[in-house]
């Protein structure tokens, strides 16, 4: 350190300086000193913790927000990838439960081949949906509902399209729903499935298989066995006649059901 003295530059008067220093000694009041020092201490106290906090923060704390954002983005991407992409497959949870139970039933009863066939073969219900709304009066005997029985049949025979269902325009049906042979509205289709226990679903063949079996018995000439099979078919599927070949429907119309015996038509 170098200290330079500048006495030669000084134009002052030592006598004046000495007299001034000796005579003039004003100092600020003590309250001003206290105010200033308190403010200085408060400012220093406020400035001190900052570097300590910065020093105490570990390095990974700086990456926490970025890591959290990356985690959320990854989770969102995974959820989007898990969602079904086919909009036709976005059914209600109840319909999905029915489909899953039917798939399980097909796998158990008919095996993989049956399951595949039930998904590939278009059922008559598809043709039924694509046609204009049928006249209830021209419906098959087993499925025709009298006006006084409408209230019962709508609830008791859920597979039969109700008048309100006829008044509604036909709706696009998912392939799985078609394979299940459900031609009515989704609500009407879901209800019987919910009522049927899973065990019954496992024991019940598919409508197309059942119709094929009835047709085979009829073709073999065993009309009694064919009639029994048709009755069982109708018990399981109230709209069973719609699955039968066209040439068998007149014969089927002459076969009564246990719940709707022949003398009812009479």
């Amino acid at each position: 350190m170098t200290i330079h003295r500048r006495d030669d530059e000084r134009p002052g008067d030592p006598a004046v300086d000495a007299a001034w220093r000796a005579a003039v000694r004003d100092e600020p009041p003590a309250r001003i000193d206290a105010t200033i020092l308190a403010a200085a201490r408060a400012a220093a106290a406020g400035a001190r913790p900052a570097p300590q906090q910065r020093a105490m923060r570990p390095w990974w704390v700086h990456w926490q927000p970025l890591a959290a954002a990356a985690g959320v983005a990854g989770l969102a991407f995974s959820i989007v990838q898990m969602l079904p992409r086919d909009p036709e497959r976005r059914a209600t949870p109840a319909v999905e439960a029915v489909e899953s139970s039917r798939d399980a039933a097909s796998t158990t009863a008919g095996g993989p081949a049956q399951s595949a066939a039930s998904k590939i073969v278009p059922p008559p219900a598809l043709v039924q949906d694509q046609r204009p709304a049928p006249d209830p009066a021209s419906a098959p005997v087993g499925t025709r509902a009298t006006p006084e029985a409408d209230n019962q049949s709508s609830a008791a025979t859920p597979g039969v399209p109700s008048p309100s269902a006829y008044s509604n325009p036909p709706r696009a049906i998912a392939p799985d729903e078609r394979a299940a042979g459900l031609g009515a509205t989704s609500e009407a289709r879901v209800e019987p499935a919910q009522r049927r226990p899973a065990e019954d679903s496992a024991m019940t063949p598919a409508p197309t298989e059942w119709a094929r079996r009835v047709a085979a018995l009829h073709a073999s000439g065993d009309r009694a066995a064919a009639a029994d099979a048709l009755r069982e078919f109708r018990e399981a599927y109230p709209d069973a006649d719609q699955y039968l070949p066209t040439e068998l429907r007149p014969w089927a119309a002459s076969i009564g059901t246990p719940s709707a015996p022949k003398n009812r038509q009479e």
């Binding site: 002052g12 600020p28 200085a40």
Partner: protein, 216 residues
Amino acid sequence: MTLVAASVGRADTAPHMQPADAGNPDDTDEALMLAYGRGDATAFERLYARHKGSTYRYLLRHTSERPVADELHQDVWMSVVRARERYAADARFTTWVYTLARHRLIDHWRARRGARFTSLDDEGSSAMLEELAAADRGGAQVDDPLSLTIDAQTGQRLVVALADVPAAQRDAFLLHVEAGLSLEEIARLTGAPAETIKSRLRYAYRRLRTTLEDLQ
């Protein structure tokens, strides 16, 4: 770092003006201010104890009113507190703090009388500055008995004589005798040429010497 210590320091009568240990680099004004900027409150206390008297007298001799000097003095040191983090030791702390004091003094005069002048050292505005300072004093003499210690008559005469000195000359004298600044430092602080400062100092000393001679 090279420190410039003017010989006008008041080591005999005001020992707080100069560092107690000038050879200790940690005890200089600049080091203390930097330490305070890092949060060392005791450094500010030492710094304030060194300079509070001189800055207060500088403001009091310019305003001649204790309440005004109190207010200005507090404002100046609060500015020091607020500027603690941006202080850079590229100049002497004394020069810096007296720059703050001068600016605050000019603001005070402007607020009282309007912004009719631009600089305390503007030669063209010296007359106006003197007018403002005289109006600020209101013709009242310094009547504080505390300012007169050993020789009350001599001290009062000097204070009154300095109050009659033009403001620019009084400013140069106070920066020289109270702050301990050299000619070059006063010139740098005020923005006036060094020769101008020397002339102002000579005139101020002549007036004060005449006052002392009249007493003898």
